[in-house]
Amino acid sequence: MMILNTLLLVAAPALSPASTPPPQGVMALKVGRAETVSDGSVLHAVILIEDGKITMVGEDLPIERGIPVIDLGPDSVVIPGLVNAYSRQGMDSRGGSGSEPGNRASSELYPAYEDYSELLDAGITTLGLYPAGNGIPGRAVAVRTKGDTREEMILKDDAYLKVILQASGSSKKMIRDGFEKADKWIEKEQKEREKWEKDKEKADKKKKDDDKDKDAKDAGPGPYVAPDKDPEAEAFLALRAKELRALISIDTAAEYLHLVDAIGKEEFDWDLRIPIQRESNVFYVAEMVGKRGCRVVMDPVLSLHPNTMRQRNLPNEFAKAGAKLVLTPRSDSTSDNVDWLTDVGGLVTAGLPPKVALRAMTLEPAEVLGLGDRLGSISAGKDANLVFFDRDPFEPGVRPVAVMLEGQIVSGEVN
């Protein structure tokens, strides 16, 4: 019944102008198989799109007459637009090594960068671009891979705060100092507020006394204005308030312990970035990270057990331990971005469940960017970012047939 209602609603605007529907209007897609990520696979799927948003997904839904239908054929597969949450494509600044949580990667965004279209062709519809540097280089920005201006590209500024933690006193201190600065600001703010309240009380009293004489010259201290936050205090206050999340980069198992030590009792949302080196030993903390249940951003590569030639599938180990896996391309080069699906296919061959793999390229990275409610799955209410294939996407060398960005076909052709 609900389905019918929605269908009618969808159909209503399409009926009136009879012919040419507006380009951002209503549209139905018929696909052999839809990998929704959020609700499993749907065979013979129909996806309804209105104004760039997905309004409904289901198996063999009836489509109202008049709605333009794109039928991709029985062998077609559709997946959500890929989200590479950890990239520096098109950015060229060099960062420092200090704590600069006020920096925004959005300030170096360059929409004319030519390779964005190649990424889009490869099915990557969203990028998380992070600022360069060590220490705390700043905040990442989430962008569409298409747009002529920065405004057109930017989906969300302050997607996450990038932090690089190393096993050193200075690095751990950077995190502790940040929260200390936040504490100091709170203290300062409290003092100023008290002072303002006192001033106000005084002024009010004076006003009462002076009332009889003339209109008050001294209008009191005016409305309360909180003291300025310096960018560090601001960022760490935002972390604490959970308005900002952190993506913390570590290399080794030891660094995870140091991270837990540096964070201490502070509570904020954080995910991990663990680049996989040839002989990484991070598997020592897989259980701990899994118990925490945070996201782990990894590269789709197999590594070796230290001092041996024994292969390990660390992304799979972390996923099994309970961590939410997020995958990036093998490197940040354009060609590796284009070959992303093939590389992840390699992990799938080595044992990573395909559903987990797909989720790690779509919904989980969207969550890292704080856009999980808008991107990353084929479900009602989300942006119509879709990638179409004519066979299983994890088969080697597969390229998308077409790519849709917010309801518009932006790459390839469909009929």
Partner: protein, 484 residues
């Protein structure tokens, strides 16, 4: 007055009773445990979080070489929260000898028992200096790698504490628990600033150091006088501390030992004279020609760090004795110098010739034994003495009640070349098990069962099946008895 006396007598009687019944430390441990027990009864059914549980650790059936001269055969060592609480016989272990009826999940303690039947327990070895076992340096609380393979190799060598840089640090590995416990970063550093490095190498350095000692000892004299005088005249000002070197002052107050690097006779005599003049005990690193001036060093109360198989000819232009000697450690020890022995290379070397790096401390001291050092002193030179030099002798270096539970379990005499460290324990936690690491597990693997299973007494005719099931066993026996 009389009343008071009787009260006192009664009190003494109670004390005697307590000690008589259950030997000091155990009584304490028991009391503690009982208190805890009461608390948990009040807090009914609330399971205690893992990190708040009391951690008991016991080694049983071991020949315990305490490092203080005693050897206890087939004895038990019990530690509570990383400190030794009892060494001896008839030791009661919670969870095994009492509190056995408390189910695992309701316990406010956890207990690990290591059966070391047929093996020996020694104090964990103390390397006076090493490099690369822990991390990059600086403050180890912020740089240690508790997963590094070098640390595992250090533990395999029996080292539990090492001097690195100026700190004395424990080789605490991360031990997985269920549920996981956070790593105790504060527990690794036994002492920061364990040494005060000093130099007498050049004329200028010598002059300036002597001046510092003169100034500091003058200040100390003034200060002590002031301490006496101020009782009479409260207005009296404290003596001026200007120009007093803080480190030198600490040395004179005996809070830290100064470390000098001196190999040759003349330099060694300089150190000894300075030490006797100002009354401090020097640690002498690389004490190669120490044997030629052993008496002087002994009188100065010196500590010596040396390598037992250093080989260097003496300066040919001199008539006097010189150069290195395999008897160095023995001669120095006989003269009252406390000797710590180090290998030629202080890191973990996985190439070149085996046996010259930090992984072979016990073999290193064998060369000193060959030169006449007693075996007991040889063990001291890699346990108690280096611990004393770093000012941490009250915590590590020997197995005594109250000290840290840092120990190694070996399959033979520590100084024998064939001996392997089977287990290493730090702060009452098993951090190394030879069979669990890939490095030495394949060499003379530890048998799964130490003793042959008890022979079955069976006079009956019926040949028993190869391996009767546990359930079946009792029935068999009953039947057998019935038959008789």
């Amino acid at each position: 007055m009389k009343l008071l006396h009787t009260k006192r007598a009664a009190f003494a009687a109670v004390l005697v009773a307590t000690f008589g019944v259950s030997l000091g430390a155990r009584a304490l441990a028991f009391d503690d445990e009982e208190k805890k027990g009461d608390e948990s009864e009040e807090a009914e059914d609330k399971s205690v979080p893992e990190e708040e549980k009391t951690a008991w650790f016991a080694v049983t059936h071991a020949d315990i070489y305490t490092g203080t001269g005693e050897i206890l055969r087939d004895a038990t060592l019990l530690a509570k929260d990383g400190k030794i609480v009892e060494i001896g016989y008839d030791v009661d272990i919670p969870g095994r000898d009492y509190y056995t009826d408390v189910p695992e999940e309701k316990r406010d303690f956890r207990v690990d028992v290591l059966d070391a039947q047929g093996m020996r327990v020694y104090p964990g070895l103390v390397a006076i200096s090493s490099s690369g076992l822990l991390g990059t340096g600086g403050d180890f609380r912020d740089s240690i790698d508790p997963f590094s393979s070098n640390m595992v190799l250090g533990l395999a060598a029996g080292i539990t504490t090492t001097g690195q840089g100026r700190s004395a640090v424990k080789l605490k590995r991360y031990v997985p628990h269920e549920p996981p416990l956070p790593y105790d970063f504060d527990g690794i550093v036994v002492r920061d600033d364990a040494f005060a490095s000093m130099s007498l190498s050049s004329g200028a350095a010598k002059r300036s150091l002597i001046e510092k000692f003169q100034r500091a000892s003058q200040y100390l004299r003034e200060y002590r006088q002031w301490e006496i005088d101020v009782k009479k005249d409260k207005e009296l000002k404290e003596p001026d501390k200007k120009g007093v070197d803080g480190t030198v002052l600490e040395v004179l107050e005996g809070r830290v030992y100064p470390m000098f690097r001196a190999a040759e006779r003349a330099d060694l005599l300089n150190v000894a004279r300075l030490a006797q003049e100002f009354g401090f005990r020097p640690v002498i690193d690389d004490c190669r020609e120490g044997w030629t001036v052993a008496d002087e060093l002994g009188r100065a109360g010196a500590f010596a760090i040396l390598s037992a198989r250093d080989r260097r000819d003496k300066d040919e232009s001199l008539v006097r004795e010189g150069g290195s000697s395999i008897e160095n450690a023995a001669i120095l020890s006989a003269a009252g110098v406390q000797v710590a022995i180090v290998p030629e290379s202080k890191g973990v070397a996985l190439d070149g010739i085996v046996g010259r790096d930090i992984m072979h401390l016990p073999i290193e001291v064998d060369f000193a034994v060959r030169g006449g050092l007693s075996e007991a002193l040889a063990v001291d030179s890699i346990t108690r003495i280096p611990a004393r030099m770093m000012g941490i002798g009250h915590r590590v270096g020997s197995l005594e009640v109250g000290k840290d539970c840092d120990l190694i379990v070996t399959d033979g005499d520590l100084l024998h070349y064939q001996t392997f460290v089977q287990y290493t324990v730090i702060d009452g936690e098993l951090v190394y098990d030879k069979q669990q690491e890939l490095y030495f597990a394949h060499i003379r693997p530890r048998p799964e069962v130490e003793l042959a299973p008890a022979a079955k007494l069976d006079a009956g005719e019926d040949a028993p099946a190869e391996e009767p099931k546990d359930d079946a066993k009792d029935e068999d026996r009953e039947e057998g008895e019935g038959g008789e």
